[in-house]
Amino acid sequence: MARINHCDIPEDYYYNVDKHVWARVEPDGTVTIGITDLAQHLAGQIFYAKIKPVGQRVEQFRSVATIESGQFVGFVPACVGGEIVMINEQLRTHPILLNQDPYDKGWIARIKSTDPEIQLRHLLTGQAAVEAYREKMQRENIGCT
């Protein structure tokens, strides 16, 4: 796990750094998606999360959920497009999980994609993602403190 400006960045995840979202490939080939540690820090305490229902299709980087905090409201872009096969029902009653554990208990949805390898090419992972985050945080003077 990399750590930049106090933000956690698991190196085995895939990221769109500017959209603040991650993807994690599961053993069955589906892809779990969520928001980053930096995103939840910038948003502040999240008190509302509404996720699109299971069975609905989403395109890559289009809305998969809406979240709201005291100073932010907006949609969460799907890091990978496809059919939503599972959503984190716990977020309905405990949206704070997005703040407390954005990479695990605060996951948002699981996507079944027909072409995950192609879509993952549009994302960054490993050291490339860490470096992109380092540059972004430096450029925008942001972090998780």
Binding site: S63, T66, Q71, F72, V73, G74, F75
Partner: protein, 126 residues
């Protein structure tokens, strides 16, 4: 492809920068609607037109030490909220269209506004 009609929110904004504490809510609600894939429209008239004057929203804070009105306005623009202004409302404020921020989508009159709200699912006034 979905055949479901996109829902529409229209906010009529008449309050302006002299009452900054009234301004975060309409922008925030419009932003939320856009994030929830509704068509979100704000129509500015009377003092509301003053919010769209270039540079003005950045000068006014919602409260001492708080965020500027520009923060909420930009949040709405980034989410895809459309902004329209009312021509007579603009004249009431002794303003002209070239004084408005470039992101404004256009001008709207009373008849077009009535058309717009007849098609809307939610109409709010602030």
């Amino acid at each position: 492809m979905s055949l479901e009609r996109q829902k529409k929110l229209v906010i009529l904004q008449t309050s302006g920068l002299d009452t900054p504490f009234r301004l975060p809510s309409p922008f925030f609600i419009a932003t939320a609607a856009a994030a929830m894939e509704m068509e979100a429209i704000m129509v500015f008239t009377a003092k509301g037109c003053g919010i769209l004057k270039k540079g003005e929203a950045a000068k006014v804070l919602i409260k001492k030490g708080g965020k500027s009105i520009a923060y909420f306005l930009n949040l709405a623009l980034d989410a895809g909220v459309k902004f329209y202004y009312c021509q007579p409302g603009l004249e009431l404020m002794d303003m002209s269209a070239d004084e408005l921020i470039k992101e404004v989508d256009g001008v709207i009159g009373a008849a077009a506004f009535v058309d717009m709200v007849q098609e809307a699912d939610i109409v709010l006034t602030f």
